[in-house]
């Protein structure tokens, strides 16, 4: 199992579309994926779970991955969050 802390950088936060992208990405990997945030722990492969985190810009999350491909999965997920999901934002 690996864990990593990360901050949400896109201005709109994890609203529906970025959540959808994050979940889609995570679902490609076999590893279990959980997100911890301010005392909550949600299934990172559940769009509703991710949305109910209401993670806005600046929110701090802890990513938890557990499984055979946990390293690749973590890398891809961190990459997506760091690159603000490839969205242009003002």
């Amino acid at each position: 199992m690996i864990k990593k802390k990360i901050t949400i950088k896109n201005t709109a936060g994890l609203h529906a579309r970025p959540s959808a992208q994050l979940v889609k990405l995570a679902s490609k990997y076999k590893s279990d994926f959980y997100i911890h945030s301010y005392g909550y722990r949600v299934n990172g492969k559940s769009i509703l779970g991710v949305m109910t985190l209401a993670a806005e810009h600046g929110a701090e999350l802890e990513l938890e991955l557990d499984g055979a491909d946990e390293k690749e999965a973590l890398e891809a997920i961190v990459d997506a969050i760091e690159s603000k999901f490839g969205m242009e934002e003002d």
Binding site: G13, H15, S19, K24, N43, L48, M51, E56
Partner: protein
Amino acid sequence: MKTSKTKELIIKGRTAASGIAIGNAVLINSESKTVTPTSIKENEVLGHKERFSKARENLVAELEQMSGELKDSGTAEIIDTHQQIIRDPEIEKNVFDIVENKLLSVDFAVYQTYCSFIERLKESGSELFRQRIIDLEDIRDRFIAEVCDQKNKEPIKKGSVIVTKQISPTDLVSYYEDGAVGLVMEKGGITSHAAIIAKSLGMPCIVNADGVTKEADKDKSVVLDADAGALILNPSKKTIQSYRKKAKTQKKLAKEKAADEFETADGVPFKLLANIEFEAEVAKVEENRAQGVGLLRTESLLFGKRVRKSVEDQEAFYEEIVSKTTGPVTIRLFDIGGDKNARRPLKEANPFLGWRGIRLLLDEKKLLRSQLQAILTVAGRYPGRVKILVPMVSVIDEVRQIRNEIEKIQGALLSSGGQIDENVPLGLMVEVPSVAISAYQFAKEADFLSIGTNDLTQYTLAVDRGNERIHTLFQHYHPSVLKLIKMTAEGAEKADIEVSVCGELAGDEIGAACLLGLGIKELSMVPNSVLKINELLSSRPLKDFQELATSAIELSSSEELERLYGEWSQN
């Protein structure tokens, strides 16, 4: 609670398709119901779980179909998100938990599960996330209907006026087939697919009618005056009568004025044809005296309720259209991609400038060949009737490749003993400025040109017409577009081939008058506009239209042209 109303109430909206409809209101997608828990027995658990899985499958498939049909990529993306919500593993976990451990029915389990997520979103406190609650409620309600197998929509009574928040194109078509006569949408936008289809079905339609689903009462008579952008609730007998009269006169006038000859006042002939997409519209072609089908859209074969990809299924569709009409039928090859390929894995940065129309077909040879084979087979049965139109051409080589494919398939049909039409005309859509600018060079390679004014306007002005934020920049009568049309007409004339316009401009009075003046003698439009346009074009000598067009291309905006037309039509 609705207040009891006896007074007439007018709800305003934007006109999306003109006309008058008088009928009873049917409210579609009414408010959600509360679902109460029902106990089930241990041996029913499996059945309830299966109902859940089946419903989920159906909902995902339904959305899949919609995303293929919807015009703008933004909406398609939202639909994609909805699919994910439906497939959410947490939903399944929760639902199964309630069914298995609490022994409660699946409809309640779905209701309860979605409600708990909705509550959590509400608690999260952010306005942005609260907006998603509307989506979740919508999905919840559709899920429950599906699980209870109530999804099969009730057939509506003939002569009903549909009142709804919004509606999917396939649902609209099926209500039309049931006999719906008008459409009022709370949401929408005049370029929404439902609005465009309403127009093409000749169904009066208004959109953006705020609060209409709250105000309208089920089964009460209403008057939809789409020309005035108004829905009249609780119309008095007097109002209804006066509208009945008005509708009758409109119909009569249109029929009377429909000249048998399609020619200008000084005897110059022109042709008016119909743009259609569904079998249901065939009757409208003859009814409105269109001289043929100038544009048969075929995408509904891939995205509609019934996917008809096989050669045989396509053949049946083309045969139906050709056999039930008398004039030429111009079949456009699948115009997919851009906004319509949401189902494909490839995400493009600029889908409208990307893999669409002919570009996609030349890569997807199997699809292209199946369509050509179906079209050419039907063309062989009706020699001289069928024409083929290629969408989104931007370079000449694309035309050559298609011609090559056609020749190969014709050869194969012949050698297998089939009948062919050796001279099936091959036409190009002019919707990209490159083709308009080099019209003569393209015209030399084609049998006819057909200008798609919507896309040509989009590419000339660089304005995505589906984008609500900039829709005011999408100027139908922009003089630069008219100039490109003029260049196209000149190129076609020099190459001695026919040129037509099959975009919205053709069915619009200002547009049609200018087009005729620019030398376009063949216009294809929604069937319902044929009579009106014929009346206009036959009312004056060609010289008048030419004068209008000559002045029009010198202007600098759509607005100026609207003013000019106002003066021109007074004289």
